[in-house]
């Protein structure tokens, strides 16, 4: 009886902490969103921002807020959510923080296809995005196939992925070396993530992808979480391991690929969001949703820093890349030493 009470209070406390973390992240995100709409090169008072959002014509604010800042902030948040969710899903599924799609070559697949499309095929626009999404899926299938030997082991998949990523990297370098200079600028967008020149119309594919793929992931969060106990234990607990894996791979690759098609591969956001969220959340349930929110915060804040807080303007991917690289090195050192996990 008392034990039941103990379990109950412990569970409620974990749930409360979880809600506090998610609520806190949401408030932070909302505040950041509002801030980036108000403050940039110039300050626009909150009243004017609200009037622009409500669709009124406000001289001096309509263009800055409505055409420049709003699309930028919206794409940052949506792409960040996608990167965070997709990255954490891979990390949870493979029980390893190195298993993020930007480490194991999936994002690189999208970039390589896009660069190839621009330089060799001469295509652009939606066609190019579709090609990038398909390539990301193709790389995921290829890595999965290459690391399949009577069941997929996480470590093998990561190593194969890092190898594939390196191959794609050299393919990109080779293609770029043969590119005319006017293609380089367009190609750059696919190499470093950026929300420069964001258009609000591009929020739609991100929203659809989040609703479909993100919804799928979140609805499977409990099964996904059970995979952290190992495949055998998860299966013994009634999780259909193969199907859960397939769904998670499709959904996570979908999220990453669509976001990459819109903003380019914003460096290391998928990789960083999960571990940061796990650190903040502690042992209080699935890290999936918090990771999405952390991803959104990273892109939003990273873009603001890159635009206004550094001596020269940098695309957001440069800022997040500078943040992620030391952590990657730290992880490799630590994993080498102790075989740790997320």
């Amino acid at each position: 009886m008392t034990a039941t009470l103990l379990i109950r209070t412990g569970r409620l406390r974990r749930a409360r902490r979880r809600m506090a973390v998610i609520g806190g992240a949401l408030i932070l995100l909302l505040a950041g969103f509002a801030l980036t709409l108000m403050q940039g090169q110039s300050f626009v008072p909150p009243g004017d921002v609200l009037r622009v959002l409500a669709g009124h014509d406000v001289p001096g604010a309509s263009f800055t807020v409505g055409q420049l800042r709003l699309p930028r902030a919206a794409l940052s948040v949506l792409a960040g959510l996608s990167f965070g969710l997709g990255g954490a899903a891979f990390q949870i599924m493979l029980r390893n923080p190195l298993a993020s799609p930007d480490i194991i070559g999936i994002s690189r697949g999208a970039s390589a296809a896009a660069v190839f499309g621009i330089v060799v095929l001469g295509i652009d626009g939606p066609m190019l995005s579709v090609l990038a999404v398909l390539a990301a899926l193709g790389v995921a299938v290829m890595i999965h196939g290459l690391s399949h030997r009577g069941g997929v082991s996480g470590t093998r998949l990561i190593l194969v992925g890092i190898g594939v990523s390196a191959m794609l990297e050299s393919f990109i370098a080779y293609t770029l070396s043969r590119a005319p200079s006017w293609d380089l600028i367009e190609a750059m967008r696919w190499l470093t993530g950026s929300v420069n020149g964001a258009q609000l119309s591009l929020a739609l594919p991100l929203l659809v992808s989040l609703a479909v793929f993100g919804g799928l992931l979140v609805s499977r969060a409990r099964d996904l979480e059970s995979l952290r106990l190992g495949d055998d234990t998860a299966a013994a607990l009634g999780t259909n391991v193969a199907r859960t894996r397939l769904l998670v791979i499709v959904a996570a690759v979908g999220l990453i690929a669509v976001a990459t098609a819109v903003t380019g591969p914003v460096a290391f956001v998928a990789f960083l969001a999960g571990p940061i969220a796990a650190r903040i959340l502690g042992p209080n349930g699935s890290v999936l949703i918090p990771a999405g929110l952390v991803g959104a915060l990273l892109v939003l804040a990273g873009d603001y820093v890159g635009q206004f807080l550094l001596p020269t303007r940098f695309p957001v991917g440069v800022v997040t890349g500078a943040l992620g690289a030391p952590y990657l090195i730290y992880l490799i050192v630590r994993v080498n030493r102790a075989g740790g996990s997320l």
């Binding site: 379990i7 030997r149 190992g230 013994a236 607990l237 009634g238 042992p283």
Partner: protein
């Protein structure tokens, strides 16, 4: 009393192009404790994994209540049969209460919410394994014996009539081994849970099991009461070891004394 039956018919199973189990038949006695013994790599874990739907048979089948287990939805199977794999891994930092709560997984769908019955099941599992006071501790900070009890608690929280355990006593010191086996026997006596476990220690297996199963090279070598199975001939066939069998003065069950090349009187 256990209401579910589990049996294995002509089971052939393996990994990749290697066949490990070569046509194996076994009827698990409902409401009893079965111990599986055999040399390393003879296929004990493979048998347990096939019996619990984790590995699909090449030929033959595993029947749960007369139905082919590999055609049943995993969640349905997990509601009546629990499995504790050999050396399971806990996620970093997970608390005991959280891990044991995972045992409720098969009783929840996508939309169902946690209920007071779930809390009660988790609490009962902690009490049965005497791990209540560990509830808020991180699993990776526990001693080997505590950790093993916590894993068993997770399987208990699943509240299944059938419980399969792969070497639940390995890496435990002797007092913890006895404690785990006593706990499983309590469970069997109180709830009629059918227990099937792989054990390394022949004498503990003979003492605690109602039914002893000996495997050699992916085949069933002998099965029956401990008295019938634990004989010097079988020990020789299964482990390639000479031995003497004497009655265990405590339990009256057979007890095996190995005979090596040295220290013979």
């Amino acid at each position: 009393m256990s209401r579910h039956s589990l049996s294995v018919h002509g089971l052939v199973a393996g990994y990749g192009d290697r066949t490990i189990l070569h046509g194996l038949d076994l009827d698990v006695l409902p409401g009893r404790i079965t111990a599986i013994v055999g040399a390393n790599a003879c296929g004990k874990s493979t048998l347990l994994r096939s019996m619990s739907r984790l590995l699909t048979p090449r030929a033959g089948q595993v029947l749960l209540d007369g139905k082919a287990i590999h055609k049943m939805p995993p969640r349905r199977v997990a509601q009546v049969m629990g499995l504790l794999p050999q050396s399971p891994t806990a996620p970093e930092g997970i608390t005991v209460a959280d891990l044991v709560s995972r045992g409720r997984h098969p009783h929840h769908g996508i939309l169902s919410r946690w209920s007071p019955a779930d809390d009660a099941a988790v609490a009962a599992a902690l009490e049965a394994t005497r791990t209540v006071e560990l509830a808020e501790r991180a699993v990776d900070e526990l001693s080997g014996g505590q950790r093993q009890r916590v894993w068993i608690a997770m399987a208990l929280a699943q509240q299944t009539d059938l419980l399969l355990l792969d070497e639940p006593t390995t890496f435990l010191d002797i007092s913890h081994q006895v404690e785990v086996l006593d706990l499983l026997t309590d469970l069997n006596h109180r709830r009629g849970t059918t227990v099937v476990m792989v054990l390394h220690d022949l004498n503990l297996a003979a003492r605690y099991a109602d039914h002893l199963v000996a495997m050699v090279g992916g085949r069933l070598h002998a099965q029956g009461t401990p008295e019938a199975v634990l004989t010097a001939e079988n020990v020789r066939a299964v482990f390639g070891l000479d031995s003497r069998i004497i009655p265990d003065p405590t339990s009256g069950r057979p007890m095996m004394l190995p005979i090596g090349r040295h220290r013979m009187a």
